[in-house]
Symmetry: C2
Subunit: 256 residues, 2 copies
């Protein structure tokens, strides 16, 4: 297993292609609906940019990685010629069956948020792999282990639950930081004042069970502080409501 081509040239495709090339694989062809981006990635990894999916040399590679917007996976998969080559997508939410046209198919889902600018160490990123048969699963495990020490065999149900958990833990906590920043800006402060506190909170949560290290007025059921905080948010009824709902959820989880 040596040769891989990519459909897509966004953040995930770029990081994977660079990582796999560094690990010794040949990156053969890149197709993207934005030819400029395909060329850019192709030049980074010594691949050939192709301008149409039907031009891809499907049989000439071991794996084709489709790394594009979720909604397009099915139609793009259907545009690839039939072969016995392993076709995978990198989505956290889409079923492997989106690729059902292809006998050998799988999922190769890196559990991380990628930015095209930022350098990212792939080596500790969990890779969730699924495949239509054991032989192909071995190929994906091997390919993932070229990139990371954390390779996990999942199934569709598990992967979708992990994806919800990731949204809650990451997208939602980022929103909490955004709401906090909004409050701070109103008082002339900025988020930097919370940096040590946020870092310590995360470190404590990851070293323990977050439920067990929950602090703050809600888990203490400190009604006076909760009342004061709600009063302080009275100018923003939606935020006030959210503060109340999350506080209630903290109390509820504590009592479970």
């Amino acid at each position: 297993m040596k040769k891989v081509s990519f459909i897509g040239s966004g953040n995930v495709a770029t990081h994977l292609a660079l990582g796999l090339q560094e690990a010794g694989m040949d990156i053969c062809e890149i197709f993207s609906s934005t030819p400029k981006n395909a060329l850019k990635l192709a030049s980074k990894v010594g691949a050939k940019a192709v301008s149409s999916i039907t031009d891809l040399d499907v049989q000439g590679v071991d794996v084709i990685i489709i790394s594009i917007k979720d909604d397009l996976i099915h139609s793009v998969s259907n545009a690839i010629g039939v072969s016995s080559t392993l076709i995978v997508h990198t989505s956290g939410t889409k079923s492997m069956d989106e690729l059902s046209k292809h006998e050998n198919r799988g999922v190769f889902y890196p559990l991380q948020t990628f930015s095209i600018e930022s350098e990212l160490k792939l080596s500790n990123i969990p890779f969730c792999v699924e495949a239509s048969n054991l032989e192909e699963l071995e190929i994906l495990k091997e390919m993932a282990s070229l990139l990371s020490a954390d390779v996990r065999i999942t199934n569709e149900e598990t992967r979708k639950s992990i994806h919800v958990a990731a949204v809650v833990a990451c997208n939602f906590s980022n929103h909490m930081f955004a709401l906090a920043e909004q409050l701070l800006l109103e008082t002339g402060e900025d988020l930097s004042i919370l940096k040590p506190l946020i870092e310590e909170t995360v470190s404590k949560a990851l070293d323990n069970h977050p439920k067990e290290v929950q602090t703050g007025p809600a888990v203490r059921e400190d009604q006076e502080v909760l009342k004061n905080h709600l009063h302080r948010l009275k100018g923003n009824p939606d935020f006030q409501k959210l503060y109340q709902d999350i506080s209630n959820s903290i109390i509820k989880l504590k009592n479970e």
Copy 2:
């Protein structure tokens, strides 16, 4: 300014007393409603444990730091004999006026979450200081700067807003981690699978404005994924409702 005594022997009192002693201050006396804890802290910092507030040598020190539960600050302050000694509390939410019995009073609020077991570098923790007059403010700035490079002069309004922001950014994001862990445990996974993603999310949020680096289905208004996630949470209607509310809040903030 050399001598300080503590009322309280919990996490905050312990970290401050150790830090101030290391910085060269004399920790003179410790009072706690739990004499055993007062003795423990006193022995760590070479201080004397006293068994009654009225036994404190108020005039023999430059500052008395009250570091106890918010609700007790007022009555404890009233139990201290009148003097010109500077009396401060360490609360994020209580007014300096809780100490109004004392002519020279202030607030000495370290913006961090303390655990008694864990060693913590105080040097980058923001200290919010307030005082009843400029001379006492100088004393608190000087004392804080012995501990940390980040000393901020606040007022009651600012400090209370910072406290709400800290609850939102830290206590609420910890709850998001707890909810995510609950979901993962149901599928046989654990929170470790999200560690790289959480760390990258926080690092990105702190290096930018979190609003500007928000990712996920809500900010993309990806109705299909949102619908699937809500469906997946149908066994837990409260969590489902919270997922919807936070997603709505993300969309709302984006459009502001």
